[in-house]
């Protein structure tokens, strides 16, 4: 079913009118309510009255992750803190996390787009859904929760981890819908086999997988392992969390809810739009958000987009799966990781910047492993093993505290980390996604 048929199948001209009205409103709203945006507009020499239609969006300045960082915690918000009903944080590039907040209406918006997402994947209100995304500060769990609640499905909020229990719950309550990261889904298939459960007999018919990049070959693997339909969901906490776009059952691109999240694809170097179907950076404007509305937010995700109407009847534009990043962010078990976060920790421990390398690996059907290699120089070297072990343990503990995922720390000899053009290679991603 289509959750909000009148919006989701709206003729393109009407859709454009709605987008235009909303952008005009939004420009006024942020100019009046957010001093950071007022200043951005002023410096850019643009007034809200210059925005007459959605086509004028190109006149507006971009918003970057750096704007989030510079105005941490509440500078980019357009409402007083008392109007927020929920806040979430995700990874920041250094030190502080990225903070987002929702008003009551923003939560309604999130519920609406997540209900569209779940229906887009094929869920029905009478279904039972197992939500194995992490609940808590991570937006995954609660986003799916709100959408499922909006639809009236029966929710099993298992959150992430505890695989044996996930499988028992699946066997006992027979949910038809599964929501988790794609790598966790494959991991569960291996666990199931070890427990003597045939994954192909599982109750899950539809999976909604996201929070990390995954390929068509991984989709094939999941679909044949579980005998289910595997669909891709996209989102980022800065925009709303999950619920920015979702594949329908035709699996031919992700429908982006452009009546509320207006997409542009730009050349990341020049900032100019690229033609339909060409790769570029996805830029999103939140047309109706109240708490922390963002104008032309640079997602750093590389996708292509088509405005061709889909066979499913939805008129929204569709983006490809994520093809890459314009920055050095990596996604590990659904968590965003920036090498700069690790640099920051090492600098704090040692007072200087040692050479380091992040190695990410995933054995077949296992979860991602992160290994941090740190070169030992004379400043941190001791002849006493207990001091070296304590150093290694401290690095591990502090990095885990910042990243919220387990890592292994490996102390290595100087010059063993590969350097290209004298510069150390910071990230080695060995995963076959």
């Amino acid at each position: 079913m289509i959750w909000n048929e009148s919006i989701e199948t709206m003729p393109l001209e009407d859709l454009k009118n709605i987008q235009s009205d909303r952008l005009v409103q939004l420009s006024k709203y942020v100019y009046e309510n957010c001093p950071v945006y007022k200043q951005k507009f002023d410096t850019h020499g643009i007034a809200p009255s210059d925005i007459q239609s959605i086509d004028d969006i190109v006149k507006l300045p971009f918003t970057n992750k750096m704007d989030m960082r510079d105005n941490y915690p509440f500078g980019l918000f357009s409402v007083p803190r008392t109007d927020l009903v929920e806040i979430h944080v995700s990874s920041g590039t250094t030190g502080n996390p990225t903070l987002v907040g929702y008003t009551r209406d923003d939560i309604s918006l999130w519920s609406e787009v997540m209900a569209r997402t779940l229906c887009c994947a094929g869920a029905e209100p009478e279904d039972t859904v197992q939500i194995a995304y992490g609940y808590g500060l991570f937006t995954g769990g609660l986003g799916f929760h709100y959408g499922s609640l909006e639809m009236g499905m029966t929710i099993i909020p298992t959150s992430s981890g505890q695989t044996k229990r996930q499988l028992k719950i699946m066997q006992d309550f027979k949910p038809r819908i599964l929501c988790c990261t794609p790598s966790y889904c494959l991991y569960m298939a291996e666990e199931a086999k070890e427990l003597g459960i045939d994954p192909r007999s599982a109750s899950w018919d539809i999976g909604i997988f996201g929070a990390e990049p995954w390929s068509e070959s991984m989709r094939g693997e999941i679909e044949s392992a579980w005998d289910m339909l595997a669909t891709d969901v996209y989102g980022l906490s800065e925009i709303i969390g999950p619920g920015v776009s979702q594949e329908c059952t035709y699996k031919d691109g992700l429908h982006i809810y452009s009546d509320v999240f207006y997409p542009e694809i730009i050349d990341p170097e020049t900032g100019q739009p690229v033609p339909d179907g060409e790769d570029g950076e996805l830029v999103i404007t939140t047309l109706t958000k109240q708490g922390i509305p963002l104008i032309r937010y640079r997602t750093r995700d590389i996708v292509s987009m088509t405005t061709e109407v889909c066979k499913c009847g939805r008129t929204s534009p569709r983006t490809s799966k994520i093809k890459g990043r314009t920055d050095d962010m990596i996604v590990v078990r659904g968590i965003n990781v920036f090498p700069s976060q690790i640099e920051h920790v090492l600098l704090g421990i040692e007072g200087t910047q040692p050479h380091y390398q992040i190695v990410i690996d995933r054995e077949a059907h296992k979860l991602d492993q992160v290994e941090i290699m740190v070169e030992v120089d004379e400043k941190i070297f001791s002849d006493e093993i207990k001091q070296m072990s304590a150093l290694s343990a401290k690095i591990k503990k502090e990095i885990e505290a910042v990243l919220s995922i387990g890592v292994k720390v490996h102390l290595v000899e100087p010059k063993t980390i590969e350097r290209s053009m004298g510069k150390a290679k910071r990230v080695v991603d060995k995963r076959a996604l």
Binding site: E378, F381, S382, D383, E384, M388, E413
Partner: protein, 143 residues
């Protein structure tokens, strides 16, 4: 009466110890005593050599992480209970042995051991007061 110990950081990989030792050999540096402490992924090679400053320069030039620590070399009676007596004297003076190891060769009739203490000065003094011979840098070179 301290002597210099050279410690080297080594990753646990094949041939690494041999590389470091042949580097010393080619430079004409003789190893007098050594020990390796290891963990799952790395090890620390500690040694007493006849030319410690040459060895340190050599490692620096070759980009090997090494440092120098003061240790005490003392002759310990080569008889049952010989070491126990020495350790008791140290412990009576609240001196903690971080680690210790033996020399490759025997010195006179006694065993020659290397001790790593927090406070090598005080430890050397206690050892001497207990009638033990503490070997200095010159003594090491003359071995």
């Amino acid at each position: 009466m301290k002597i210099t110990q050279i410690s080297v950081f080594l990753e646990n990989r094949k041939g690494r110890l041999s590389e470091v030792c042949s580097m010393l050999g080619q430079a004409g540096v003789n190893i007098r005593a050594l020990t390796i402490a290891e963990t799952e992924s790395f090890g620390v090679l500690r040694m007493v050599v006849d030319k410690p400053s040459e060895a340190a320069d050599l490692f620096r030039k070759n980009g090997i992480t090494a440092n120098q620590t003061d240790v005490v070399a003392a002759e310990v009676p080569d008889k049952p209970g010989g070491l126990a007596e020495v350790l008791k004297a140290l412990s009576d003076h609240d001196i903690n042995v971080e680690y210790m190891y033996g020399f490759v060769e025997k010195h006179s009739e006694n065993a020659l051991l290397v001790f790593r203490f927090d406070n090598p000065e005080k430890a050397a003094q206690v050892l001497r007061e207990n009638g033990l011979k503490v070997i200095d840098e010159k003594g090491i070179q003359g071995l």
